[in-house]
Symmetry: C2
């Protein structure tokens, strides 16, 4: 391939490093107003009294709206496609403003003012009285018999499901030589995208609402705004400029309905809401903390026979993505060790904590942390090398996904493990470390694997569009609904287009901004679907355009289209090896020949009805300082089977970013919630311990390139996967170094201190 697989420069590199790329907050409309939420400072209860009179009288305050003023329509904020099956619809539990308080920071009223300072001053003038309820901050409290159902109904269970696959669980458990059981807890972490949530809206004609938003899902936001305000969806226009990160947190429709509501109420005037970092951490979405119990059954030779999991996922005060995160992660995990019986039971539970939502890898980090911790302990119990144990059980090409009975279409997991073992010099270091581990500084090796999917099919519809135009100068413009959210999708789309048409990648221009009025429909950036689902759409469009070009070449030159091809700047007749017409002359003719041709474009919409499994593993070499209760990462390798690597430089960037994020989640990050009140102690970047540049080690990545047959370019997911396996690998390395199994995240010095003390390593 001429462009795919090459380290093509990011198409947005210059715009971004020179600061010229325009983000939502860089746009301004004359007369733009600022809105700010008045938020609850309790986590559970009811507003008894609200007095906005003083705030309303403040000069510069344009309007104040409270829970009494908004449409009494509950919406689902999850960035999922609309479902034709009502049973599969997202949980609609959110009013634009509410007097029922579900978590700290819940939205009671909104102040619209000339500027931010006045808006903030007005917020201070609002007087509120609450009736306070006990804060249900844990699974135990929320699931207690006498717990108040936070959203009414019978209980706090948002969703529950269970499945069994891959054979009889009971039989398999009985056949096992060893049944290992343990329980695990994972942390609430925050996405911490650099750009907070921000959006503004206006109406020019008092009919159409235009929303400019930092969103991963413009087309879905359009629909949800229509639903929230009960207006025709076609009258809503969502524009997504460059975006400063999302990681799933902008796969929720957080601000768009409110700015739309405000401009509609204020005669079309432009109104902006930009959340502060503190609001963003408290009142957008987080990674669900989960309680997990695992049971693994194995034969003495290390063959896994059965696996059972019981999971409770805490979604906080609103359903957001509802039960789908723990459900999706459960089914995707079946791919990892597919030759065993699997039982899975999971519940998602409302609590009075910040809302859980989509975050990079969508539940898999939690599930895989538990699974790969248990796998490690099982291997150790059986005295089998951790890598050997995984290789024995790992998915291979030819296996069948036990969950959906479909064959695993490509798999390089064993090769990933072999590669990682070599890179980290596993076989050489392991015996050496065991002998050294007596003093304060102890070294350990860890490994963990993951499996993941690519896209959401068949759970959700996978639809993506692409439109390509042949320009007058023989370059092309490409529009896709895939949103560039920093992951590099604009660049890979450019590479795919160039590859399939046969032109240099420099001749591909990308329309980066999505505008739902004109951008081909796509459900958005999530589920690591872009390069796969959108890739298939781009392939279809580029193939169609190429055919139109060759057909027109036949009209112009008389050579049969099926004997022609495009090579760089020319239409070539391979038999004779000659260029029959330059692509530029052909393009000019298509536009300007008075009677023949026309602008050549391809405008396609594609439903992908496949999903591709991706795999990989982390190898880590650490030093644990027992006295400091601190982990130092000496080496860390992520090895991925993501099918064909489209752009090696960007692929490494994805891996490095994901691993860095995973290290934070493993060792330091956690949203700290007061168990009694639901208060959040660290909704800011000073107190929330995200690793800085100096905390992150040199991250190594490598790839095992399989060719995924269902992808036009052989590729599979890579955006989310790198974040999944580092935490259990680090946990396993701590175990290796110290003999202590840390079964909770994050593994902070405080946690290690407790565990080391429990195990007698420190006094």
């Amino acid at each position: 391939m001429s462009t795919i697989g090459k380290p093509v420069d990011r198409v947005d590199a210059v715009a971004k490093v020179t600061g010229r790329a325009h983000y939502t907050d860089d746009f301004y409309r004359p007369g733009m107003l600022t809105a700010k939420y008045f938020r609850s400072n309790i986590a559970h209860g009811k507003v008894k009294k609200l007095d906005i009179s003083k705030a309303r009288d403040l000069a510069g305050v344009e309007a104040i709206f409270t829970y009494s003023d908004v449409p009494q329509i509950k919406i689902a904020t999850a960035g999922h496609p609309y479902s034709m099956d009502p049973a599969h619809a997202d949980v609609a539990d959110k009013l634009l403003l509410t007097s029922d308080i579900h978590h700290l920071g819940d939205e009671i009223a909104v102040v619209v003012a000339e500027n931010e300072l006045i808006a903030e001053e007005a917020l201070e003038l609002i007087e509120v009285e609450y009736e306070e309820f006990p804060a249900l901050t844990t699974a135990e409290k929320a699931l207690a018999m006498d717990a108040v159902p936070i959203h009414g109904g019978a209980s706090n269970v948002v969703g529950e499901h269970q499945f069994e696959c891959g054979g009889s669980l009971e039989d398999s458990l009985q056949k096992a030589d060893l049944v290992y059981e343990d329980s695990y807890q994972t942390n609430m972490v925050q996405h911490l995208h650099i750009e907070n949530h921000t959006a503004f809206a206006y109406m020019d004609d008092l009919k159409h609402i235009v929303i400019v938003s930092s969103t991963q899902i413009p087309h879905i936001a359009r629909r949800v705004v229509g639903q929230a305000l009960d207006i025709p969806w076609g009258g809503v226009r969502v524009i997504k400029p460059y975006i400063g990160g999302g990681f799933g947190n902008k796969q929720d429709v957080v601000l768009e309905p409110m700015v739309a509501f405000l401009t509609a109420k204020l005669d079309g005037r432009p109104v902006r809401i930009s959340l502060t970092r503190e609001e963003c951490m408290l009142c957008t979405r987080n990674r669900h903390p989960m309680n997990l119990e695992v049971r693994l059954a194995a034969k003495s030779d290390g063959t896994l026979l059965a696996r059972q999991m019981e999971v409770i996922s805490l979604t906080g005060g609103y359903a957001s993505h509802g039960h789908s995160i723990v459900a999706a992660a459960g089914s995707k995990s079946c791919l990892l060790y597919p030759r065993m019986a699997i039982g899975y039971h999971a519940r998602t539970v409302y609590t009075n904590i910040p809302v859980g939502g989509a975050m990079r890898a969508y539940g898999s980090p939690q599930i895989i942390f538990a699974l790969e911790s248990a796998a490690e302990d099982t291997a150790r119990s059986l005295k089998i090398d951790s890598v050997d144990f995984r290789i024995k059980n790992a998915a291979r090409e030819g296996d069948v996904n036990p969950f959906n009975k479909k064959p695993i279409s490509s798999c390089g997991l064993v090769e990933c493990l072999e590669k990682g073992r070599k890179l980290i010099r596993w076989d050489e270091k392991r015996p050496a470390y065991i002998n050294q581990n007596q003093g304060n500084e102890r070294r350990g090796l860890g490994v963990a694997c993951f499996s993941y999917g690519t896209g959401t099919y068949p759970v959700c519809v996978e639809i993506a569009g692409a439109r390509i135009i042949l320009n007058q100068d023989a370059s092309v413009h490409v529009q896709t609904g895939a949103t560039e959210i920093g992951q590099g999708s604009d660049t890979t789309v450019a590479q795919m287009t160039a590859e399939t048409i046969g032109i240099p990648v420099e001749d591909v221009h990308i329309v980066s901004t999505q505008d739902t009025d004109v951008t081909p429909f796509d459900t958005g950036s999530y589920a690591s679907r872009q390069a796969y689902v959108v890739g298939n759409a781009v392939f279809k469009a580029a193939t169609e355009l190429k055919q139109k070009i060759l057909d027109f070449a036949e009209v112009l030159t008389g050579f049969p289209a099926d004997e022609l091809s495009i090579v760089k700047d020319n239409i070539v007749h391979p038999k004779s090896g000659k260029a029959v017409i330059s692509l530029k002359d052909l393009a000019l003719n298509s536009y300007y020949d008075k009677d023949r041709g026309g602008q050549l474009t391809a405008d396609v919409s594609h439903k992908t009805t496949t999903n591709a499994p991706s795999f990989g593993c982390t190898f880590v070499d650490i030093t644990v300082d027992i006295a400091l209760c601190k982990v130092f990462i000496n080496e860390i390798y992520n090895i991925h089977d993501s099918g064909v690597i489209l752009n090696p430089v960007m692929a490494r960037g994805q891996v490095e970013g994901g691993v860095a994020m995973a290290i934070g989640a493993a060792l330091s990050e956690q949203v700290l919630i007061d168990e009694k009140t639901g208060w959040v102690h660290n909704n800011n970047m000073l107190d929330y311990k995200v690793p800085t540049f100096t905390d992150i080690p040199d991250i190594q990545s490598d790839f095992v390139e399989t060719i995924e047959p269902t992808a036009a370019y052989g590729n599979k997911s890579l955006g989310e996967p790198p974040i999944i396996s580092p935490p259990p690998a680090i946990r396993n390395a701590i175990l290796d170094a110290t003999g202590v199994a840390v079964n909770e995240l994050p593994m902070t010095p405080q946690v290690l201190y407790r565990c080391f003390k429990d195990q007698g390593l420190i006094d």
Copy 2:
């Protein structure tokens, strides 16, 4: 038809009347710089010395560029499609900045500053010395043997052509009972669009230049910028927001190459140029003044046998549209009285006066003024009623266009004349007025006809694109390259789309802004081509989308697509009279059925290979105050055959605007040029006498609806035609009232005074 022909409200009415519609100057980019031209204050010569040092040192001046700094590439500014035939290419005679001065205000340098005030201050600090040449301000001077060729070469003739058609001119002249000859002069008038020329440009990635401009021709501007800067055309993006009028003056590429040059030179910073009214009147384009000689040969019964015209058109300091205006007008006039021999010889001549360019009706007002004045005088010489004379000679269906030998596909000119005659009560008033016309106040009736084309085929390529998307809510979004320039094309496109698909017009959303990166290619708004050429493209796209909808209905319902149709909100099976599925359910399924369908769109490009003749006439009833030398219009009727009237309210609006503009051109407007120096005396709206609201009478319009077979909706040109026939009708009414033939425009009191005095009406 359910929507075509209905008085649908303008889709942009609310946005415009509430002031919310965003025009080019309403957009702002942070750090935007202002640029202003340093212009010559002589009309002809050379810059001998230019000193910008003082200006450059002024604080707040970012840069100054002179004629030495710009690419030495001459461009053609005419908004014509690129021509595949080099012989047909426009005259490229314009550098971005020049040391050769061709007219007053020619562009020598450009100052870029933090703001307009500093830029203006800097202009005052630039020192210049000229070598001055005699200003060639008239045809006589420019064509004199010893005239300096303004652009070098052999002479000042930009273009010259002649043709003979419809039989032998010589034979016909010999057979005639009467040969009438006279000469006429028309005035230079200005478009006076409310919004002056304005544009800004910026680069985000230092690769693509984005230009936001008030232009009628975004796709052409893109190409010309590419040519002017010698950069790939695909790297240029032109965005056209709402525009405050153009009337042809924004069918020239005036500012775009310069703002593009400036941002490229200034590291991508945004740079704006907004012309002042004075600059706009002096240095954009005007209607060419013409000198015309006409010879008409007729039989005594009024049958016209031959017509000969000799025209000189003054283009000013640059070619702009070159010779094409007087050429196009000459050929379009052949349609009016097609059953005679026609000879036409025209020259376009460089002079040192402001530049001539496209203006509403593109030369036809000048040609028709001469033709219809001569026709009137011929009828009077033969003592034949003016209306009868015209009816006798007027084009009729079945006639052949003598110029291109093609049958006249639809014609209602005779019916227009009959209708106008009735409306103004011609037969009743004419004898009455003749008897009354002795005192100071004299009444007269006048009539004049016109013929016109629709679009430019076969002279230029007629290509237009349309893209229609079926939204999730069963509404549609439409994109066309046709630019809404106030004429209402967005609204007629909405009507056409609704009509063809079969949905209510309220369900059609228009993407009004053109953006050359994503908007279907179209050459722009000119030649009254929109509703015809773009209409044919919209019909094609809407038909294609409808077919896709019905095909998908077949998939969903099992009813054969060819038995289904769309009626409002439903897919209907006419045989059974039942709705088989609602359009909304179908739309939702197209998006969200997991395995079937996809976003339904149609993205078409269409080359129209026809042209449609349109016709009409003006009837006017005036009072002339002999002493005041002033004309008062009592009644004025414009009757048009524009085929099917798409929207009667907007059609009347077009006619009223055109007639008002024509009255200005007839009675008061003229750019006054000092014959000796080329100085312009009235480049402002105080001294240039455009009629105000109080000067314009109640304008009446009516239509004879023919059905044009080459138009998808039966329609023909209407945007330009209303401006053509009022001036000769008024001239003919003055003749009727006073017996004085005024053969020049404008017919100001000063001119009438001279004519009345010559004829002895006043002392």
